[in-house]
C-alpha cells in the first residue's frame, strides 16, 4: 500500500503544481487547468470521438497491420534465404535509416492528404522494425527444432505455421511493439502536417483559431491515447505469449 502511495506522490504533485500555477495565469497561452478540463469534456467526451479519434486510430491500425503482414512475410523470406538477404541488405538498411517524417511531404505529393498517404507512411515506417526482428528471430531458431519437425515429416507449410512462426513469435512481437510506438508518432505527425480530420488535426485547427484551452485538451488526449495504446498492446502480448511466459518463467 505504501509502495503505491509513493508512486502516486510525484504525479499528484505535478497535477497540483499545474493547477496552482495555471489558476491565476494571465498568459493567454497557459490557461487555467479548470478551463482545459472543461474544454476536454466539451470536445472529447464524446462529441468528436466518432469524427476524429476513430479515424486516427483506424489509420494507425491499418498502417500497422499492413506493416505486420509485409514485415513478417518478407522477414521469413529474407531470414530463410541467405542469398536474398545478402542481395537486399543495402536497400533495406537505407530505407530503414530514412527518417519517417521526411517521407510525409513525399506521401502528400504522391497520394494527397487523405487516408491513403497517412496509412502508407505509417505502414512504410513500421515495416522495418517488424522485418528486422523477424529476420533475426527466424535465423535464431534452434536447428534441433527444425530437424525434429522434418523427421516427423511435417510439410513445408506445416513447418512454417506450427514451428517457425510460433518459435519466432516472441521476437516478432517485440518488433511489433517498437512499430506500434513509431506508428503512433507517425499518426500524430501526419495529422499535424496536413489532414482533414483526426486528433492531431483538431490540435492544429485549435491553434489556428487561438482556442488555446482546446489545444491543451487535445494534447492531454493524445498523451492519454499514447499510454492507453501501449498498455493495451502489452496486455495483448502477454495473452498471445502465455505459453512462452509459462515456459521460460519470465516476462
Amino acid at each position: 500500500m505504501t509502495r503505491i502511495g509513493l508512486r502516486l506522490v510525484v504525479p499528484v504533485l505535478l497535477l497540483v503544481l499545474w493547477w496552482t500555477t495555471s489558476a491565476g495565469s494571465a498568459s493567454p497561452f497557459y490557461p487555467p487547468l479548470s478551463e482545459v478540463l472543461a474544454s476536454f469534456q466539451e470536445t472529447w467526451l464524446f462529441a468528436r470521438v466518432g469524427s476524429d479519434v476513430v479515424p486516427s486510430l483506424g489509420r494507425l491500425l491499418a498502417g500497422l497491420l499492413i506493416a505486420c503482414v509485409v514485415g513478417i512475410a518478407a522477414g521469413v523470406a529474407l531470414g530463410r534465404v541467405r542469398v536474398l538477404s545478402l542481395a537486399m541488405n543495402p536497400a533495406v538498411q537505407f530505407c530503414r535509416s530514412m527518417p519517417g517524417a521526411a517521407l510525409i511531404p513525399v506521401s502528400v505529393v504522391l497520394l494527397g492528404i487523405g487516408d491513403g498517404a497517412k496509412i502508407g507512411v505509417i505502414a512504410f515506417v513500421c515495416t522495418f522494425p517488424v522485418l528486422l526482428n523477424t529476420i533475426d528471430a527466424v535465423r535464431g531458431i534452434d536447428p534441433q527444432l527444425e530437424d525434429v519437425a522434418r523427421s516427423y515429416r511435417l510439410t513445408r507449410a506445416q513447418r512454417l505455421t506450427s514451428v517457425l512462426l510460433p518459435a519466432a513469435a516472441p521476437q516478432i512481437l517485440a518488433g511489433i511493439r517498437t512499430a506500434l510506438a513509431m506508428a503512433f508518432i507517425m499518426m500524430v505527425v501526419t495529422e499535424l502536417y496536413a489532414a482533414t480530420n483526426g486528433v492531431g488535426f483538431v490540435t492544429v485547427s485549435a491553434r489556428n483559431s487561438f482556442d488555446v484551452p482546446q489545444m491543451w485538451a487535445s494534447t492531454v488526449l493524445l498523451g492519454l491515447l499514447g499510454v492507453a495504446v501501449s498498455a493495451l498492446f502489452l496486455a495483448l502480448q502477454r495473452r498471445v505469449l502465455r505459453w512462452h511466459i509459462g515456459m521460460t518463467g519470465r516476462n
Binding site: R7, L14, A87, A91, L110, A181, M215
Partner: protein, 254 residues
C-alpha cells in the same frame, strides 16, 4: 569471397536501374523524378552553402539534444537503480510519460516558445531521455553482485566502486542506449523541424515539397538517410573501440 560483395552491389544497382527506367518511360508519376536527376541535384548542390547550413543546424539540434538527453537519462536511471526510494517515487511517472511521443507536445511548445531551436532541442532531448534512462537502469541493476561484494571486501570506497566496478559493467548498456538515443534524436529533430518550420534539414525538405522541387525534395530525403547511416556507423565504431575488452567484442580482436 567475391560474390558476397558483388551480390548486394549488383542487386542495388539493378533496383536503381529499374527505378530509372520506370521513371524515364513515364510509368511512374512525374512526382517521382528519375534517380539520375536526383543524383544530379545532389552533386550540383553539394557545394551549396544553404544546404550545408541546414545540415549544420540539424546536427546542432541533434548534438545538444543528445548530450542533454543522455546526461539526464543516465543520472536519473542510475539514481533509480541505486536508490530504492527514488525508484518508488519516479517509477509511476516514468511509466506514464514514456509511451507519450514527444511530437504530442509540439503544438503547445510552439505556442509557448515559437518556432525556435529551443523547442526542437528540448523535445528531442526528452525523446533521447527514455532509452538512456532504461538502459542505465538495467545496467546498474545488472552489476555482478560477486564483483560488487569482492570490491567491498577489498575495501574500495563508494566512489572507487562506481569507477572500477559499476561504470565498466554498465558501459555496454550505456553505449547501446546512446546509439538508440542518437537515432531517435535525429528522427525527432528532423520531424520537428519539418512540422514546426524550425530552420534545419526538415524545414528545407518541407519547403522543397511545398514548392514542387521534387528532385531537391528526394535529394534531401537521401541526405537525411545518409546522415542516419553515417551517425550510426560512427557510434558503432566508437562502441567497438570502447568495449574491445568486453566479451561481445573480444572475438573481433583475433
Amino acid at each position: 569471397m567475391k560474390p558476397i560483395i558483388l551480390l548486394p552491389v549488383l542487386t542495388s544497382a539493378a533496383l536503381l536501374a529499374v527505378w530509372e527506367a520506370l521513371s524515364a518511360s513515364g510509368t511512374l508519376p512525374p512526382e517521382i523524378p528519375p534517380i539520375s536527376e536526383i543524383g544530379r541535384w545532389l552533386v550540383t548542390n553539394l557545394d551549396s552553402a544553404n544546404l550545408w547550413t541546414s545540415i549544420g543546424q540539424t546536427l546542432g539540434h541533434w548534438a545538444v539534444a543528445l548530450l542533454a538527453g543522455v546526461a539526464i537519462g543516465a543520472v536519473v536511471g542510475a539514481a533509480m537503480a541505486a536508490i530504492p526510494i527514488v525508484n518508488e517515487l519516479l517509477l509511476g511517472t516514468v511509466e506514464f510519460f514514456r509511451p507519450i511521443p514527444v511530437v504530442v507536445y509540439l503544438p503547445i511548445m510552439l505556442l509557448l516558445l515559437g518556432a525556435t531551436s529551443g523547442v526542437v532541442v528540448s523535445l528531442a532531448a526528452t525523446a533521447a531521455l527514455w532509452p538512456m534512462l532504461l538502459q542505465t537502469f538495467y545496467g546498474v541493476r545488472d552489476v555482478d553482485p560477486v564483483a560488487r561484494d569482492t570490491a567491498r571486501v577489498f575495501g574500495l570506497t563508494t566512489p572507487q566502486r562506481w569507477i572500477w566496478v559499476t561504470a565498466p559493467s554498465i558501459l555496454p548498456y550505456f553505449s547501446t542506449g546512446v546509439r538508440i538515443a542518437s537515432t531517435i534524436t535525429l528522427l525527432v529533430a528532423i520531424a520537428l523541424e519539418l512540422i514546426g518550420a524550425v530552420p534545419g534539414l526538415g524545414n528545407t525538405l518541407g519547403t522543397y515539397a511545398t514548392n514542387g522541387v521534387y528532385e531537391a525534395m528526394y535529394g534531401v530525403v537521401v541526405l537525411t538517410g545518409l546522415l542516419g547511416v553515417g551517425l550510426n556507423a560512427v557510434f558503432e565504431r566508437l562502441e567497438r573501440r570502447a568495449l574491445r575488452w568486453h566479451a561481445s567484442h573480444r572475438h573481433r580482436m583475433t
